[in-house]
């Protein structure tokens, strides 16, 4: 949690989905279910889904967002959304 701040996750850190989280794409975005906490979350658009799905292979959040085609102006929104997911342990920081 040290890398979390009010703006969301640190864009230059590397993240991944929690190993106990399942992602199901839906027309509006996606549903996330955490088997450990038994909590359900929603991704409200498909771009955020693309970001979440590419976290594991991207060296940083910033790269994952760029890969998903997010314009610089929209970055803060996605940074914040990932912060919310981090708070509920849907995504977790990884070492590299």
């Amino acid at each position: 949690m040290s890398r979390l701040n009010p703006d969301g996750v640190d864009l230059d850190t590397a993240w991944d989905l929690h190993p106990q989280v399942s992602v199901r794409p839906e027309p509006f975005g996606a549903l996330l279910y955490h088997f450990g906490t038994r909590k359900l979350s929603f991704l409200k658009d498909r771009t955020l889904l693309a970001v979440v799905q590419s976290l594991a292979s991207a060296p940083s959040v910033r790269v994952a967002c760029e890969t998903a085609g997010i314009a610089a102006a929209d970055l803060p929104r996605y940074q914040q959304a990932l912060g919310t997911l981090a708070q509920s342990s849907m995504v977790v920081e990884r070492s590299s």
Binding site: S22, R24, F28, D45, R46, T47, A68
Partner: protein
């Protein structure tokens, strides 16, 4: 027009997070249900007077172990995260634990509802070791008197023993599931205290006039002032208490309660019954809400995605007489099943409409006398003969209108269902220890 055509597409690329409420998108349905109720058997060791599925005897057409596994395979392909398994009493199926293990091994989580009869210390220990299994123990009274009144003698002790076993095994956060009735609404604080004591989470749901519940609804459903009490209690304790989104019809008292506040029938939820029939929701076991069967070609996925009924439920619904009500946006006219089984039109007010429109409609209905009957009665044959001790049978506190047979409750009810001649009942003569 196909369902997919009717859906809003998320614009690409890089849109700002979508405007509008998620719940509005849910009205168009999802590719797979968020949560699915699966009643594995109609067999039950109890005969709760308000049973939604009129359970008691096993249906000989019940899905086999292999058929159940095929359904689980399909749920895995559809990425249904978890199923709520119920019944009947699901744990009395001899393959129950095998199916639970099969589901969790295939990434389909399980939450099962039980009266606790099979939750021994050993079972509780095993359950505590799995992240993929959650348990919901039914309790309809915070005292034996109130609970056993609807669930039968000994059922309170059974539930409490199961909860103690869960606590001793270190399983925290299991659910205690309460159907709110006129008799137990004064006990809400006591239920909360029980949940806290056992490290469990309280879940309150609405009494539906479905199954045998139709017979006792008039006597058990909360009075208008109790609905207000329940609403205030939920507002005060809301975040820590689950409701299965049961009470969205109460939102007209003020602010909406936590939850989706949406009738999810056929949109985000549905029911698979023991013989594989797929209904719009667990409270609507009637031909009118039957979408198909998992045994038919295309299986469950075909029923979920393309059945005529579910497609219809995902089109915008007419609010009818309720549209002009200022609370329609949150209440949405209430519960479809509650309206149907009390004989009210589906596009009118809920029978428990907090503004009282339901009661007016019910008065009118009583004069017409046309109330649909639930389909498929699997109740135990509970025609009770004279007492062995020769004393008169006490008149039941609750009588079933449908069958016109007084069901004696509480003190006068036998300790277990009489051994029936019906070979289909695997519980004939079964004594829970």
């Amino acid at each position: 027009m196909t369902l997919l055509d009717a859906r809003p597409e998320a614009p690409k690329p890089a849109p700002p997070p979508q405007p509008g409420r998620l719940v509005d998108l849910f009205e168009y349905g999802l590719d797979s249900p968020i949560c699915l109720t699966w009643e594995l058997t109609y067999a039950c060791n109890l005969s709760c007077v308000h049973c939604l599925s009129s359970s008691g005897r096993r249906d000989p057409r019940e899905l086999s172990t292999e058929e159940c596994k095929a359904v689980i395979d399909e749920l895995e392909r559809m990425q249904v995260f978890y199923v709520n398994i119920g019944g009947g009493e699901p744990t009395v199926r001899s393959d129950f634990w095998e199916l639970v293990d099969y589901a969790t091994a295939h990434k389909v989580g399980v939450k099962f509802s039980t009266n606790g009869v099979k939750i021994t210390p050993e079972v509780a220990q095993k359950l505590a070791g799995s992240d993929y299994v959650d348990v919901q123990i039914s309790l309809d009274g915070a005292t034996a008197e109130v609970n056993d009144y609807v669930r039968g003698p000994g059922s309170y002790a059974t539930a409490m023993r199961a909860m103690q076993n869960m606590k001793d095994a270190g399983f925290t956060g299991f659910k205690i599931s309460v159907v709110c009735t006129r008799q137990n609404i004064p006990q809400l604080d006591e239920f909360k205290a029980i949940a806290d004591e056992y490290g469990a989470q309280l879940r309150l749901t609405r009494l539906r006039p479905s199954g045998r519940g139709a017979d006792v609804w008039d006597e058990l459903h909360p009075l208008p002032e109790q609905q207000r009490e329940l609403y205030d209690w939920l507002v005060a304790h809301g975040e820590g208490v689950l409701t299965g989104d049961s009470f969205f019809h109460l939102s007209a008292y003020g602010s909406a309660l936590p939850g989706l506040n949406l009738c999810g029938a056929g949109r985000v939820v549905c029911l698979i019954d023991p013989i594989g029939d797929v209904y719009a929701c667990p409270f609507a076991i009637h031909d009118e809400f039957l979408a198909g069967n998992v045994r038919s070609e295309g299986g469950f996925q075909e029923v979920w995605r393309n059945s005529e009924l579910f497609t219809r439920l995902r089109t915008p619904q007419s609010g009818g007489a309720c549209t002009s009500c200022s609370f329609f946006d949150t209440c949405k006219g209430g519960c479809m099943a509650a309206k149907f089984f009390t004989g009210l039109p589906l596009d009118g007010p809920d029978p428990e409409c907090v503004r009282g429109f339901g009661e007016e409609a019910l008065e009118k209905r009583k004069m017409d006398g046309s109330i649909p009957k639930p389909d498929g009665d699997h109740s135990h044959s509970t025609v009770r003969g004279p007492r062995r001790d020769g004393r008169p049978i006490a008149t039941g506190l609750i009588t079933t209108k449908k069958r016109g047979i007084p069901i004696t409750l509480s003190l006068t009810r036998p300790d277990r269902p009489p051994v029936s001649a019906c070979e289909e009942n695997p519980l004939a003569g079964f004594t829970p220890n």
